[in-house]
Symmetry: C2
Subunit: 336 residues, 2 copies
């Protein structure tokens, strides 16, 4: 890289804003906000109060609601919008993105209906650009508060990844790299169901052994599906798989975990969802994960029980009994 | 196996007694207790109150304090004594153990001084027997209380392992198998230091991202050392590595975790140890793990910081700062 990289982050939600704030410490950074008011607040108050309350953003982080203006000088575009809105924003940005430059996804989850991974959507709509993602156990507010965290830049070209590390790296935010895009991207999808399952175990009051078993066997089935999709099995055990799973299982802020706990205590899925503003990711994606597992002929007993609970009215207690009935084989055997 | 296997468990501590209770549901089982009083209590009251309070043992679990009597009819011997006393008990049993029969270790930790793994001690003192271990996220009292758990029988011969699964398997205790003895055995040793490290992070109040990072990067360095010792890298991500680590990190009963938390809150190691009846495993083995890592030329930054805190007077805060200074590389790179 001959001159300093200029970054554009597309999407000013809590995670997009946080990543833009990290990048702005290292390189010139523009944040595209859908709302003009948000852009103005970021420029004038240096806050994004809708998502991050009164947390201070760097003075030199610039925001705009004009997508062309945001993209026109960017050497690296980072997409940070919800998975269901990604394709549309990428299409709209197509005319403005400079040729050849890498595109990075911060998007959580698969595109509904198509089940495409976010980097696949990027590659379909903007072919010819290197694509990758930044992911890991990253609760945005903790990062804004200066608590230590680590993430992974995953992109097939390790040289590109190496040049991206210093763009996001700060003293408190460690950026590793990995060439395994499929594994890194799927970790964040698959962990949601396992987080619901550990929440269910907690709600049922099954103890520390059971919770540890669900996590270890959950990671096992995440890994088996990842492998079937072409991922490196070790990726699931890293920051984007296990790490993300841990942050989700342990965080009091996690919707997935909370859904699981309430199901475990005996609530129906309807009762649980009634009390929530936003549907937990794992509830929305259970069906998609099952469809992918089936397409790859991979048995995922824990995810399947979670799917049955959130989509077919099975109770958490029945799911738990169902799991105990699965025969224990070799640790790495396809049947859990 | 042509007739029913008869099991002898050598050692009536909480874990040995629990495993004997599991086996006794499936096959004739004898438990050797060092103390005659314990043996009598187990036979007459069907309790082992010193370790398991008033929890009921199976009526047909037989106990004896006579080692010869315990061993003479056994087709499978399970050693469940502390690592520092293992070699002596194995030597004493040598004249009574039937030829060829498999020996299984429940022993936690390495032999002090020699740094031998328990299965190595078995093989040295009783050559010619197949050796293996049973391990996993198994808090004994939870298993006695009927809460679900899973463990792994690790032994190089998968046919032997398959014939052992039904000996210990119950409706609530799932027994997987694995051929990787080194990896399965080292998981239980290496997790102690990572559990102290996550406790330190908790005590320092560093948040969910940091805790998830310590677990994922801790598993990474456990895996790298395992690999250098000849283990399958995936074993560390299974029940005997990550699973055991999870049970230790999350359990309120865990001494390792408690030591870490108090260190994180600013206590010195001397102050922490003063308040404990029994030294936490991770404190005792930090030096041994560092010696093995050095012998295999593997860098383990998290374990090294824990070692410095428990053995060299470094504060938890300094350790945490030290870790943030380590350069982030490729996720699987030998330098964390």
């Amino acid at each position: 890289v001959t001159r300093q990289v200029r970054v554009c982050v597309v999407g000013a939600g809590s995670w997009g804003t946080t990543v833009a704030a990290l990048a702005a410490r290292n390189v010139p950074t523009v944040l595209w906000a859908r709302s003009e008011d948000s852009a103005r607040e970021i420029n004038e108050q240096h806050t994004n109060s809708r998502y991050l309350e009164d947390r201070q953003l760097p003075q030199d982080l610039r925001a705009t609601s004009d997508l062309e203006e945001a993209l026109v000088e960017a050497d690296l575009v980072v997409y940070a919008v919800p998975s269901h809105g990604l394709r549309d924003v990428v299409k709209r940005s197509a005319g403005h993105v400079r040729p050849w430059i890498p595109l990075l996804s911060l998007v959580k989850g698969l595109e509904p209906e198509t089940l495409r991974r976010p980097t696949e959507v990027l590659a379909e709509e903007l072919p010819g650009h290197p694509t990758g993602l930044l992911a890991g156990p990253n609760l945005a507010k903790e990062i804004m508060d200066g608590l230590a965290a680590a993430a992974v830049v995953a992109t097939p070209d390790d040289v590109v990844a190496q040049s991206m590390q210093p763009i996001f790296h700060t003293r408190r935010f460690r950026v590793y790299r990995n060439r395994d895009v499929v594994g890194s991207e799927m970790g964040g999808v698959l962990k949601n169901l396992i987080a619901i399952a550990t929440g269910m175990a907690d709600g049922l009051g099954t103890g520390d052994n059971t919770r540890a078993m669900v996590i270890a066997r959950g990671l096992n089935e995440m890994t088996r599906l990842g492998e079937a999709m072409g991922a490196d099995p070790m990726t699931m055990s890293g920051l984007t798989g296990l790490g993300d799973l841990m942050a989700t299982c342990m965080s009091r802020q996690s919707r997935n975990r909370r859904v699981g706990e309430e199901l475990g205590r005996g609530s129906t899925i309807e009762e649980v969802l009634e009390g929530m503003e936003q549907v937990a990711e794992g509830v929305r994606t259970a069906r998609s994960v099952m469809a992918i597992a089936e397409a790859h002929d991979v048995l995922m007993p824990i995810s399947a029980e979670v799917d049955a609970v959130v989509n077919e009215g099975r109770t958490a207690r029945e799911a738990y009994r169902g799991l105990l009935g699965v025969q224990a084989q070799h640790e790495r055997h396809p049947v859990a």
